[in-house]
Protein backbone atom coordinates (compact mmCIF):
# COMPACT_ATOMS: atom_id res chain seq x y z
CA UNK A 1 0.00 0.00 0.00
CA UNK A 2 1.29 3.44 -0.92
CA UNK A 3 -0.25 6.63 0.38
CA UNK A 4 0.87 10.15 -0.52
CA UNK A 5 -0.63 13.45 0.58
CA UNK A 6 -0.88 17.05 -0.52
CA UNK A 7 -1.74 18.98 2.63
CA UNK A 8 -2.77 22.66 2.51
CA UNK A 9 -2.38 24.88 5.55
CA UNK A 10 -2.99 28.61 5.98
CA UNK A 11 0.01 30.59 7.23
CA UNK A 12 -0.24 32.75 10.38
CA UNK A 13 0.38 36.07 8.64
CA UNK A 14 -1.49 39.27 9.29
CA UNK A 15 -2.06 40.09 5.64
CA UNK A 16 -2.61 38.19 2.41
CA UNK A 17 0.14 36.69 0.26
CA UNK A 18 0.28 39.39 -2.43
CA UNK A 19 -1.74 42.33 -1.07
CA UNK A 20 -2.32 44.16 2.21
CA UNK A 21 -5.80 42.91 3.03
CA UNK A 22 -6.23 40.93 6.24
CA UNK A 23 -5.35 37.27 5.85
CA UNK A 24 -7.54 35.82 8.54
CA UNK A 25 -11.20 35.15 8.31
CA UNK A 26 -13.17 37.62 10.35
CA UNK A 27 -16.73 38.40 11.23
CA UNK A 28 -16.97 40.98 8.50
CA UNK A 29 -19.46 40.78 5.71
CA UNK A 30 -18.48 39.04 2.43
CA UNK A 31 -16.18 40.93 0.07
CA UNK A 32 -15.34 43.56 2.69
CA UNK A 33 -11.67 42.57 2.83
CA UNK A 34 -10.68 42.81 -0.81
CA UNK A 35 -8.71 45.00 -3.22
CA UNK A 36 -7.88 45.01 -6.95
CA UNK A 37 -5.13 42.41 -6.39
CA UNK A 38 -7.15 39.68 -4.67
CA UNK A 39 -10.22 40.41 -6.82
CA UNK A 40 -7.98 39.80 -9.85
CA UNK A 41 -8.96 43.09 -11.50
CA UNK A 42 -7.16 43.91 -14.76
CA UNK A 43 -4.01 45.91 -14.09
CA UNK A 44 -3.46 44.83 -10.47
CA UNK A 45 -0.09 43.26 -9.63
CA UNK A 46 1.12 40.96 -6.82
CA UNK A 47 3.83 41.93 -4.33
CA UNK A 48 5.10 39.13 -2.06
CA UNK A 49 4.54 39.26 1.72
CA UNK A 50 7.94 39.03 3.46
CA UNK A 51 6.46 37.25 6.47
CA UNK A 52 4.85 34.56 4.32
CA UNK A 53 8.26 33.87 2.80
CA UNK A 54 9.91 33.71 6.25
CA UNK A 55 7.28 31.40 7.73
CA UNK A 56 7.34 29.12 4.69
CA UNK A 57 11.12 28.79 4.94
CA UNK A 58 10.79 27.88 8.62
CA UNK A 59 8.11 25.28 7.89
CA UNK A 60 10.20 23.81 5.07
CA UNK A 61 13.20 23.65 7.38
CA UNK A 62 11.12 22.03 10.15
CA UNK A 63 10.21 19.36 7.59
CA UNK A 64 13.94 18.82 6.94
CA UNK A 65 13.72 20.25 3.43
CA UNK A 66 16.56 21.70 1.43
CA UNK A 67 15.75 25.37 1.00
CA UNK A 68 16.10 26.43 -2.62
CA UNK A 69 18.60 29.29 -2.70
CA UNK A 70 16.42 31.10 -5.19
CA UNK A 71 12.71 30.57 -4.93
CA UNK A 72 10.19 31.62 -7.59
CA UNK A 73 6.55 31.32 -8.57
CA UNK A 74 4.54 29.90 -11.45
CA UNK A 75 1.08 30.44 -12.88
CA UNK A 76 -1.20 27.42 -12.84
CA UNK A 77 -4.02 28.07 -15.29
CA UNK A 78 -7.47 26.58 -14.72
CA UNK A 79 -11.00 27.87 -14.85
CA UNK A 80 -13.31 27.95 -11.87
CA UNK A 81 -15.43 30.86 -10.61
CA UNK A 82 -13.52 31.04 -7.31
CA UNK A 83 -10.20 31.67 -9.07
CA UNK A 84 -10.20 35.40 -9.84
CA UNK A 85 -7.31 35.63 -12.32
CA UNK A 86 -7.95 32.34 -14.12
CA UNK A 87 -4.64 31.17 -12.74
CA UNK A 88 -3.32 30.45 -9.28
CA UNK A 89 0.09 31.80 -8.29
CA UNK A 90 1.89 28.78 -6.86
CA UNK A 91 5.29 27.08 -6.92
CA UNK A 92 6.77 24.04 -8.62
CA UNK A 93 10.47 23.55 -9.41
CA UNK A 94 11.38 26.76 -7.61
CA UNK A 95 9.45 25.80 -4.46
CA UNK A 96 10.80 27.15 -1.19
CA UNK A 97 11.61 23.67 0.16
CA UNK A 98 12.37 20.34 -1.53
CA UNK A 99 13.49 16.82 -0.61
CA UNK A 100 12.60 16.82 3.10
CA UNK A 101 11.19 14.21 5.43
CA UNK A 102 9.21 13.68 8.60
CA UNK A 103 10.73 11.20 11.03
CA UNK A 104 8.07 8.81 12.36
CA UNK A 105 9.86 6.88 15.05
CA UNK A 106 12.80 6.07 12.81
CA UNK A 107 10.88 5.74 9.55
CA UNK A 108 11.26 8.66 7.19
CA UNK A 109 8.22 9.85 5.28
CA UNK A 110 9.57 11.84 2.35
CA UNK A 111 8.47 15.43 1.74
CA UNK A 112 8.75 16.11 -1.96
CA UNK A 113 8.04 19.80 -1.80
CA UNK A 114 6.78 22.67 0.35
CA UNK A 115 5.27 25.30 -1.89
CA UNK A 116 3.84 28.74 -1.25
CA UNK A 117 0.53 29.51 -2.93
CA UNK A 118 -2.58 31.67 -2.74
CA UNK A 119 -5.97 30.44 -1.59
CA UNK A 120 -8.89 30.89 -4.00
CA UNK A 121 -12.11 32.62 -2.93
CA UNK A 122 -14.89 30.99 -0.94
CA UNK A 123 -17.67 29.77 -3.19
CA UNK A 124 -21.18 28.74 -2.22
CA UNK A 125 -23.10 26.47 -4.53
CA UNK A 126 -26.71 27.43 -5.15
CA UNK A 127 -29.18 25.77 -7.47
CA UNK A 128 -28.97 28.20 -10.38
CA UNK A 129 -25.90 30.26 -9.60
CA UNK A 130 -22.98 30.50 -7.21
CA UNK A 131 -22.09 33.09 -4.59
CA UNK A 132 -18.49 34.18 -4.23
CA UNK A 133 -16.74 35.86 -1.33
CA UNK A 134 -13.22 37.06 -2.10
CA UNK A 135 -12.30 37.72 1.54
CA UNK A 136 -10.40 34.41 1.48
CA UNK A 137 -8.89 34.99 -1.96
CA UNK A 138 -5.13 35.46 -1.63
CA UNK A 139 -4.72 34.04 1.88
CA UNK A 140 -1.20 32.56 2.03
CA UNK A 141 -1.00 28.77 2.06
CA UNK A 142 1.70 26.16 2.15
CA UNK A 143 1.07 23.04 0.16
CA UNK A 144 3.07 20.18 1.64
CA UNK A 145 3.54 17.37 -0.87
CA UNK A 146 4.71 14.03 0.51
CA UNK A 147 6.27 11.08 -1.28
CA UNK A 148 3.99 8.01 -1.39
CA UNK A 149 5.84 6.58 1.62
CA UNK A 150 2.93 6.01 3.99
CA UNK A 151 2.06 2.31 4.03
CA UNK A 152 -0.78 1.85 6.52
CA UNK A 153 -3.73 3.62 8.01
CA UNK A 154 -1.95 3.67 11.36
CA UNK A 155 1.04 5.34 9.79
CA UNK A 156 -1.25 7.87 8.14
CA UNK A 157 -2.72 8.80 11.53
CA UNK A 158 0.73 9.07 13.09
CA UNK A 159 2.00 11.16 10.21
CA UNK A 160 -0.87 13.62 10.46
CA UNK A 161 -0.39 13.97 14.22
CA UNK A 162 3.32 14.52 13.79
CA UNK A 163 2.81 17.01 10.97
CA UNK A 164 0.25 18.96 12.96
CA UNK A 165 2.59 19.13 15.93
CA UNK A 166 5.47 20.36 13.79
CA UNK A 167 3.20 22.99 12.24
CA UNK A 168 1.85 24.00 15.66
CA UNK A 169 5.39 24.88 16.71
CA UNK A 170 5.70 27.04 13.57
CA UNK A 171 2.69 29.05 14.67
CA UNK A 172 0.17 27.43 12.33
CA UNK A 173 -3.31 27.36 13.82
CA UNK A 174 -3.98 23.65 14.22
CA UNK A 175 -7.67 24.24 14.80
CA UNK A 176 -8.09 25.14 11.15
CA UNK A 177 -9.39 22.32 9.02
CA UNK A 178 -6.64 20.73 6.95
CA UNK A 179 -7.44 20.50 3.26
CA UNK A 180 -5.83 17.44 1.78
CA UNK A 181 -5.54 15.63 -1.54
CA UNK A 182 -4.95 11.96 -0.89
CA UNK A 183 -3.26 9.48 -3.25
CA UNK A 184 -3.75 5.82 -2.51
CA UNK A 185 -2.59 2.85 -4.52
CA UNK A 186 -2.93 -0.71 -3.34
CA UNK A 187 -2.02 -2.02 -6.79
CA UNK A 188 -0.20 -0.20 -9.57
CA UNK A 189 -2.82 2.35 -10.50
CA UNK A 190 -2.96 5.53 -8.49
CA UNK A 191 -6.26 6.87 -7.19
CA UNK A 192 -6.47 10.48 -6.11
CA UNK A 193 -9.08 11.73 -3.67
CA UNK A 194 -9.35 15.48 -4.00
CA UNK A 195 -10.21 18.14 -1.43
CA UNK A 196 -10.81 16.21 1.77
CA UNK A 197 -11.54 18.62 4.61
CA UNK A 198 -10.45 17.88 8.18
CA UNK A 199 -8.44 15.11 9.78
CA UNK A 200 -11.39 12.89 10.60
CA UNK A 201 -12.64 12.90 7.03
CA UNK A 202 -9.13 12.23 5.80
CA UNK A 203 -8.86 9.08 7.87
CA UNK A 204 -12.38 7.95 6.93
CA UNK A 205 -11.72 8.58 3.25
CA UNK A 206 -8.48 6.59 3.40
CA UNK A 207 -10.19 3.80 5.32
CA UNK A 208 -13.00 3.58 2.78
CA UNK A 209 -10.66 3.72 -0.18
CA UNK A 210 -8.40 0.99 1.22
CA UNK A 211 -11.42 -1.25 1.70
CA UNK A 212 -12.72 -0.48 -1.77
CA UNK A 213 -9.42 -1.18 -3.48
CA UNK A 214 -8.78 -4.37 -1.46
CA UNK A 215 -12.22 -5.66 -2.40
CA UNK A 216 -11.54 -5.01 -6.08
CA UNK A 217 -8.23 -6.82 -5.84
CA UNK A 218 -9.83 -9.79 -4.09
CA UNK A 219 -12.43 -10.01 -6.84
CA UNK A 220 -9.64 -9.92 -9.38
CA UNK A 221 -10.92 -6.64 -10.81
CA UNK A 222 -8.90 -3.79 -12.24
CA UNK A 223 -8.45 -0.58 -10.23
CA UNK A 224 -8.87 2.51 -12.40
CA UNK A 225 -6.41 5.36 -12.17
CA UNK A 226 -8.85 8.16 -11.45
CA UNK A 227 -9.82 11.15 -9.38
CA UNK A 228 -12.44 10.56 -6.72
CA UNK A 229 -14.04 12.72 -4.10
CA UNK A 230 -15.08 11.95 -0.55
CA UNK A 231 -18.72 12.27 0.43
CA UNK A 232 -18.97 13.10 4.08
CA UNK A 233 -22.67 12.23 4.45
CA UNK A 234 -22.40 8.70 3.14
CA UNK A 235 -18.76 8.16 4.15
CA UNK A 236 -17.63 6.91 0.77
CA UNK A 237 -15.48 8.00 -2.15
CA UNK A 238 -17.05 8.42 -5.56
CA UNK A 239 -15.54 8.83 -8.99
CA UNK A 240 -15.43 12.48 -10.02
CA UNK A 241 -14.82 14.19 -13.31
CA UNK A 242 -11.12 14.71 -13.98
CA UNK A 243 -9.90 18.28 -13.56
CA UNK A 244 -7.10 19.71 -15.69
CA UNK A 245 -3.98 17.61 -16.06
CA UNK A 246 -0.47 18.94 -15.63
CA UNK A 247 -0.23 19.16 -19.42
CA UNK A 248 -3.19 21.52 -19.43
CA UNK A 249 -2.29 23.64 -16.44
CA UNK A 250 0.52 24.97 -18.63
CA UNK A 251 2.70 26.09 -15.73
CA UNK A 252 4.85 29.10 -16.62
CA UNK A 253 7.09 31.45 -14.72
CA UNK A 254 5.08 34.22 -12.99
CA UNK A 255 6.48 37.33 -14.75
CA UNK A 256 4.79 39.78 -12.37
CA UNK A 257 7.14 38.51 -9.65
CA UNK A 258 10.85 37.77 -9.55
CA UNK A 259 13.38 35.44 -7.91
CA UNK A 260 13.70 35.59 -4.13
CA UNK A 261 16.97 34.96 -2.32
CA UNK A 262 16.48 32.64 0.66
CA UNK A 263 20.13 32.53 1.73
CA UNK A 264 19.75 35.70 3.76
CA UNK A 265 16.70 34.49 5.69
CA UNK A 266 17.37 33.62 9.31
CA UNK A 267 15.78 30.27 9.98
CA UNK A 268 15.86 29.24 13.64
CA UNK A 269 16.17 25.56 14.52
CA UNK A 270 12.71 24.03 14.57
CA UNK A 271 11.16 22.51 17.66
CA UNK A 272 10.13 18.91 16.97
CA UNK A 273 8.01 18.12 20.02
CA UNK A 274 8.00 14.34 19.50
CA UNK A 275 11.81 14.35 19.55
CA UNK A 276 11.75 16.47 22.67
CA UNK A 277 9.32 13.99 24.27
CA UNK A 278 11.68 11.13 23.45
CA UNK A 279 14.67 12.98 24.93
CA UNK A 280 12.74 13.93 28.07
CA UNK A 281 11.51 10.36 28.52
CA UNK A 282 15.02 8.97 28.12
CA UNK A 283 16.69 11.52 30.30
CA UNK A 284 14.13 11.37 33.07
CA UNK A 285 13.17 7.72 32.74
CA UNK A 286 9.57 8.68 32.30
CA UNK A 287 6.70 7.39 30.21
CA UNK A 288 7.09 8.87 26.72
CA UNK A 289 3.42 8.70 25.81
CA UNK A 290 2.42 10.89 28.76
CA UNK A 291 5.03 13.48 27.86
CA UNK A 292 3.96 13.46 24.22
CA UNK A 293 0.39 14.15 25.20
CA UNK A 294 1.47 17.07 27.32
CA UNK A 295 3.78 18.75 24.86
CA UNK A 296 2.81 17.83 21.29
CA UNK A 297 0.42 20.74 21.10
CA UNK A 298 1.37 22.84 24.11
CA UNK A 299 4.22 25.27 23.94
CA UNK A 300 4.17 26.17 27.64
CA UNK A 301 4.25 22.57 28.81
CA UNK A 302 7.20 21.93 26.56
CA UNK A 303 9.01 24.98 27.88
CA UNK A 304 8.31 24.09 31.54
CA UNK A 305 9.30 20.46 31.22
CA UNK A 306 12.54 21.21 29.41
CA UNK A 307 13.52 23.81 32.02
CA UNK A 308 13.36 21.59 35.13
CA UNK A 309 15.91 19.17 36.56
CA UNK A 310 15.79 15.42 36.47
CA UNK A 311 14.87 15.39 40.19
CA UNK A 312 11.97 17.76 39.67
CA UNK A 313 10.65 16.08 36.56
CA UNK A 314 8.13 13.65 37.94
CA UNK A 315 6.70 16.28 40.21
CA UNK A 316 6.66 18.77 37.35
CA UNK A 317 4.54 16.49 35.20
CA UNK A 318 1.99 15.90 37.95
CA UNK A 319 1.95 19.61 38.74
CA UNK A 320 1.07 20.42 35.13
CA UNK A 321 -1.69 17.86 35.34
CA UNK A 322 -2.93 19.38 38.63
CA UNK A 323 -3.09 22.88 37.18
CA UNK A 324 -5.13 21.47 34.32
CA UNK A 325 -7.50 19.44 36.48
CA UNK A 326 -8.13 22.40 38.82
CA UNK A 327 -8.91 24.55 35.82
CA UNK A 328 -6.06 27.02 36.33
CA UNK A 329 -4.84 27.92 32.88
CA UNK A 330 -3.38 31.37 33.27
CA UNK A 331 -0.49 30.47 35.56
CA UNK A 332 2.94 31.95 35.08
CA UNK A 333 6.30 30.25 35.06
CA UNK A 334 6.99 31.83 38.48
CA UNK A 335 3.81 30.33 39.90
CA UNK A 336 4.79 26.97 38.47
CA UNK A 337 8.24 27.28 40.09
CA UNK A 338 6.69 28.29 43.39
CA UNK A 339 4.35 25.29 43.43
CA UNK A 340 7.17 22.99 42.39
CA UNK A 341 8.83 23.67 45.76
CA UNK A 342 5.70 22.73 47.68
CA UNK A 343 4.23 19.39 48.46
CA UNK A 344 0.99 19.20 46.51
CA UNK A 345 0.77 15.44 46.13
CA UNK A 346 -2.48 14.90 48.00
CA UNK A 347 -3.86 18.40 48.07
CA UNK A 348 -7.44 19.31 47.09
CA UNK A 349 -8.47 22.18 44.84
CA UNK A 350 -9.13 24.72 47.59
CA UNK A 351 -5.84 24.01 49.32
CA UNK A 352 -4.02 24.13 46.02
CA UNK A 353 -5.46 27.51 45.20
CA UNK A 354 -4.64 28.77 48.66
CA UNK A 355 -1.01 27.74 48.25
CA UNK A 356 -0.98 29.40 44.88
CA UNK A 357 -2.17 32.60 46.51
CA UNK A 358 -5.47 32.69 44.66
CA UNK A 359 -7.59 31.39 47.52
CA UNK A 360 -9.65 34.34 48.68
CA UNK A 361 -11.50 35.42 45.66
CA UNK A 362 -9.35 32.77 44.11
CA UNK A 363 -11.37 33.12 41.00
CA UNK A 364 -10.94 36.83 41.10
CA UNK A 365 -14.46 38.04 40.67
CA UNK A 366 -15.10 40.32 37.81
CA UNK A 367 -17.16 43.29 38.81
CA UNK A 368 -20.79 43.51 37.90
CA UNK A 369 -20.30 46.09 35.21
CA UNK A 370 -17.75 43.92 33.50
CA UNK A 371 -20.02 40.88 33.50
CA UNK A 372 -22.90 42.95 32.26
CA UNK A 373 -20.85 44.25 29.35
CA UNK A 374 -19.77 40.70 28.58
CA UNK A 375 -23.33 39.41 28.46
CA UNK A 376 -24.43 42.30 26.27
CA UNK A 377 -21.62 41.57 23.88
CA UNK A 378 -22.61 37.92 23.76
CA UNK A 379 -26.20 38.83 23.04
CA UNK A 380 -25.18 41.18 20.28
CA UNK A 381 -23.31 38.39 18.49
CA UNK A 382 -26.33 36.13 18.51
CA UNK A 383 -29.51 38.14 18.46
CA UNK A 384 -31.72 35.05 18.80
CA UNK A 385 -30.35 34.50 22.28
CA UNK A 386 -31.90 37.74 23.36
CA UNK A 387 -35.16 37.05 21.50
CA UNK A 388 -35.53 33.75 23.25
CA UNK A 389 -34.68 35.56 26.43
CA UNK A 390 -35.12 33.78 29.70
CA UNK A 391 -37.95 31.62 28.51
CA UNK A 392 -35.78 29.24 26.55
CA UNK A 393 -33.97 26.98 28.97
CA UNK A 394 -31.38 25.87 26.45
CA UNK A 395 -30.40 29.40 25.58
CA UNK A 396 -30.35 30.30 29.23
CA UNK A 397 -28.12 27.38 30.19
CA UNK A 398 -25.78 28.15 27.39
CA UNK A 399 -25.40 31.72 28.56
CA UNK A 400 -24.95 30.68 32.18
CA UNK A 401 -22.21 28.28 31.13
CA UNK A 402 -20.41 30.92 29.15
CA UNK A 403 -20.59 33.50 31.89
CA UNK A 404 -19.44 31.03 34.55
CA UNK A 405 -16.43 30.06 32.57
CA UNK A 406 -15.46 33.53 31.56
CA UNK A 407 -15.88 35.30 34.88
CA UNK A 408 -15.24 32.46 37.30
CA UNK A 409 -18.54 32.74 39.10
CA UNK A 410 -20.75 29.97 40.36
CA UNK A 411 -24.20 28.81 39.27
CA UNK A 412 -26.64 30.97 41.16
CA UNK A 413 -24.65 34.13 40.81
CA UNK A 414 -24.36 33.70 37.06
CA UNK A 415 -28.03 33.06 36.59
CA UNK A 416 -28.82 36.09 38.75
CA UNK A 417 -26.65 38.41 36.72
CA UNK A 418 -27.92 37.22 33.39
CA UNK A 419 -31.53 37.61 34.35
CA UNK A 420 -30.79 41.04 35.69
CA UNK A 421 -29.04 42.14 32.54
CA UNK A 422 -31.70 40.77 30.22
CA UNK A 423 -34.43 42.40 32.26
CA UNK A 424 -32.57 45.66 32.09
CA UNK A 425 -32.31 45.37 28.34
CA UNK A 426 -36.00 44.52 27.97
CA UNK A 427 -36.91 47.55 30.05
CA UNK A 428 -34.94 49.76 27.71
Amino acid sequence: MKIGLEVHVALPTKTKLFCSDLAYENQEEPNSNVCPVCLGLPGAKPVLNQNALDISARIAKALNCEINEKTWFVRKVYFYPDLPKGYQITQLDGAIGVRGYVDLNGKKIGIRRVQIEEDPARIIREKDYSLIDFNRSGVPLNEIVTEPDITSLEELKNFIEELRSILYYQGVNINQELKTDLNISLAEKRVEIKNVTGVRNLISAAEYEIKRQSALIKEGKEINAETRSYKEDSNETVSSREKETEEEYGFTFEPDLTFYDTTKLEIPKAIIASNVAKELADRNEYNEKTIRELILFNRRNLSLLTSITREEFKKGVSLIEKFASFGVEDYSEEEFRKMLDKDVSSIEKDGFLQLLGRANNAEKKADEAEIEAGIKEMLSFDKTLFDRGIKDEKAMNFMIGEVKEKYHITGKEAAYFIKKVIKGMLNN
Binding site: T15, P30, N31, L48, Q50, L131, T258
Partner: protein, 90 residues
Protein backbone atom coordinates in the same frame (compact mmCIF):
# COMPACT_ATOMS: atom_id res chain seq x y z
CA UNK B 1 -1.43 20.34 -35.53
CA UNK B 2 -3.89 17.46 -35.58
CA UNK B 3 -7.60 18.18 -35.38
CA UNK B 4 -8.14 16.48 -32.03
CA UNK B 5 -5.19 18.39 -30.58
CA UNK B 6 -6.79 21.63 -31.79
CA UNK B 7 -10.12 20.62 -30.24
CA UNK B 8 -8.42 19.82 -26.95
CA UNK B 9 -6.73 23.24 -26.96
CA UNK B 10 -10.00 25.05 -27.53
CA UNK B 11 -11.44 23.22 -24.54
CA UNK B 12 -8.44 23.96 -22.35
CA UNK B 13 -8.49 27.66 -23.29
CA UNK B 14 -12.31 27.87 -22.98
CA UNK B 15 -12.57 29.27 -26.50
CA UNK B 16 -15.50 28.39 -28.71
CA UNK B 17 -15.25 29.15 -32.45
CA UNK B 18 -17.98 29.37 -35.03
CA UNK B 19 -17.49 27.45 -38.26
CA UNK B 20 -15.93 30.27 -40.24
CA UNK B 21 -13.52 31.21 -37.48
CA UNK B 22 -12.68 27.59 -36.85
CA UNK B 23 -11.30 26.92 -40.32
CA UNK B 24 -9.57 30.31 -40.53
CA UNK B 25 -7.88 30.10 -37.16
CA UNK B 26 -6.93 26.45 -37.55
CA UNK B 27 -5.15 27.33 -40.80
CA UNK B 28 -3.47 30.41 -39.29
CA UNK B 29 -2.27 28.49 -36.29
CA UNK B 30 -0.53 25.88 -38.37
CA UNK B 31 1.10 28.58 -40.44
CA UNK B 32 2.27 30.43 -37.31
CA UNK B 33 3.64 27.22 -35.79
CA UNK B 34 5.70 26.65 -38.93
CA UNK B 35 7.01 30.19 -38.46
CA UNK B 36 7.92 29.36 -34.85
CA UNK B 37 9.62 26.17 -35.97
CA UNK B 38 12.44 28.33 -37.31
CA UNK B 39 13.78 28.21 -33.78
CA UNK B 40 14.69 24.57 -34.37
CA UNK B 41 17.75 25.86 -36.24
CA UNK B 42 19.03 27.52 -33.09
CA UNK B 43 21.08 25.58 -30.61
CA UNK B 44 21.60 27.51 -27.42
CA UNK B 45 22.06 24.61 -25.04
CA UNK B 46 23.93 26.36 -22.24
CA UNK B 47 22.40 29.79 -22.66
CA UNK B 48 20.72 31.21 -19.57
CA UNK B 49 16.99 31.89 -19.76
CA UNK B 50 15.94 35.55 -19.61
CA UNK B 51 12.61 35.54 -17.75
CA UNK B 52 12.79 39.33 -17.72
CA UNK B 53 14.76 41.60 -20.04
CA UNK B 54 16.50 43.28 -17.10
CA UNK B 55 17.42 41.93 -13.71
CA UNK B 56 14.54 42.47 -11.30
CA UNK B 57 15.78 42.69 -7.70
CA UNK B 58 13.42 41.19 -5.15
CA UNK B 59 10.76 43.43 -3.72
CA UNK B 60 8.92 42.30 -0.60
CA UNK B 61 6.00 43.77 1.24
CA UNK B 62 5.90 44.21 5.00
CA UNK B 63 3.19 42.09 6.62
CA UNK B 64 1.11 45.12 7.46
CA UNK B 65 -2.20 46.64 6.45
CA UNK B 66 -0.71 50.13 6.27
CA UNK B 67 -0.45 50.03 2.50
CA UNK B 68 -3.93 48.57 2.12
CA UNK B 69 -5.42 49.73 -1.14
CA UNK B 70 -9.15 49.29 -0.90
CA UNK B 71 -11.42 50.40 -3.70
CA UNK B 72 -14.75 52.10 -3.49
CA UNK B 73 -17.83 50.41 -4.79
CA UNK B 74 -16.41 46.99 -5.45
CA UNK B 75 -19.73 45.74 -6.80
CA UNK B 76 -20.05 48.64 -9.23
CA UNK B 77 -18.89 46.49 -12.12
CA UNK B 78 -20.41 43.15 -11.16
CA UNK B 79 -23.73 41.71 -10.05
CA UNK B 80 -24.09 40.90 -6.41
CA UNK B 81 -26.45 39.44 -3.87
CA UNK B 82 -26.17 40.15 -0.14
CA UNK B 83 -22.54 41.27 -0.51
CA UNK B 84 -21.63 38.16 -2.50
CA UNK B 85 -20.60 38.31 -6.15
CA UNK B 86 -22.98 36.32 -8.30
CA UNK B 87 -21.19 33.70 -10.34
CA UNK B 88 -22.07 30.87 -12.71
CA UNK B 89 -23.39 27.53 -11.50
CA UNK B 90 -20.90 24.95 -10.27
Amino acid sequence: MEKDEFERLLKTARIELDEEEYSLIEKDINQILRFFDRLENVSLEDEELAFHPVEIPEKLRKDSTETRDGIENIFYNGENYRFYFLGPKI
